[in-house]
């Protein structure tokens, strides 16, 4: 029997550190997408809260309790990270655990790095802690979250991990280079 060795999405690509910004891979134990069918939103949200302790989040928001997070990921869809909700009557539920590469970027200039890659308003009072956005990371679709003042979470399709690390490294190098000039 072959012994298979698990490879993480960003293995050999992260961590990266330039200037005051560091990017590290984040491993979620489980990622599950939950999409309530039309008219079932309230029922599914209650069932989800009963199953894993977090309800279905409002658009553009993250709800966290202990190690479980529910991230809004689009119209009528959220991702549950860190706990398997199991089957939820009235919703389409799919396992996404191996489909995404997740990383966290942290540091004083983390926002300046993201501003080179993400076309949304990242000002601290507009994209606040606990907010989530579906947007672009370079040319890739991503799930962006603000986890703390200078800390952001980024999820991209796992197949795009190499491109994401490449784009991120370029932006981090340029921001660090400007910082050195000051």
């Amino acid at each position: 029997m072959a012994e298979l060795i698990a490879r993480s999405a960003f293995q050999g690509l992260l961590p990266l550190r330039f200037g005051n910004v560091e990017a590290v891979e984040v491993m979620a134990a489980t990622i599950t997408s939950v999409s309530p069918f039309r008219g079932q939103e309230t029922k599914v949200s209650k069932a989800l809260e009963k199953a894993v302790g977090v309800p279905f989040p409002d658009a553009g928001r993250v709800i966290a309790r202990d190690d479980v997070r529910a991230i809004w990921t689009g119209m009528g869809q959220c991702f549950v990270l860190g706990a398997d909700p199991g089957p939820l009557p009235g919703a389409a539920v799919t396992d996404q655990t191996d489909a995404w590469g997740a990383l966290a970027i942290e540091g004083t200039d983390a926002r300046a790095v993201l501003a080179r890659l993400v076309p949304i308003d990242l000002r601290p009072d507009v994209f606040a802690v606990g907010h989530a956005a579906r947007t672009l990371f370079g040319h890739m679709a991503c799930v962006l979250t603000r986890e703390a003042g200078d800390r952001y979470g980024i999820m991209v399709f796992r197949s795009m991990a190499g491109s994401a690390a490449h784009e991120l490294e370029g932006a981090m190098r340029k921001v660090a280079a400007r910082e050195r000039l000051q």
């Binding site: 119209m75 869809q77 579906r134 947007t135 672009l136 679709a141």
Partner: protein, 90 residues
């Protein structure tokens, strides 16, 4: 140019894809060929002024939107979810 998505707020044009006039959400009910089908498939106005188009927020929340805009000034005066626009139309 930005479109004010009902879910995501004002977002850059690069997150959206254009389909065409909102005619596409008013599909004729009858299965047989008719002038209504001909209009649905082929005939469009080309206004200098207000028009209503379908846009897809594919690099965002995945919503289909009906955007009311002015082809002369590029001003956007309204954005609504296509499924609600469709429901209101019957």
């Amino acid at each position: 140019m930005q479109i004010d998505c009902p879910f995501c707020g004002a977002r850059d044009i690069r997150e959206f894809t254009y389909l065409g006039h909102e005619t596409y959400i008013h599909r004729p009910a009858d299965e047989a060929w008719s002038d209504a089908w001909n209009d649905y498939l082929h005939n469009r106005e080309n206004p200098a002024g207000m028009t209503r188009d379908l846009w897809f927020h594919g690099s965002g929340c995945g919503a289909w939107l009906v955007v009311t805009r002015n082809t002369v000034t590029h001003e956007i005066t309204g954005v609504e979810l296509a499924r609600e626009a469709s429901r209101h139309a019957g």
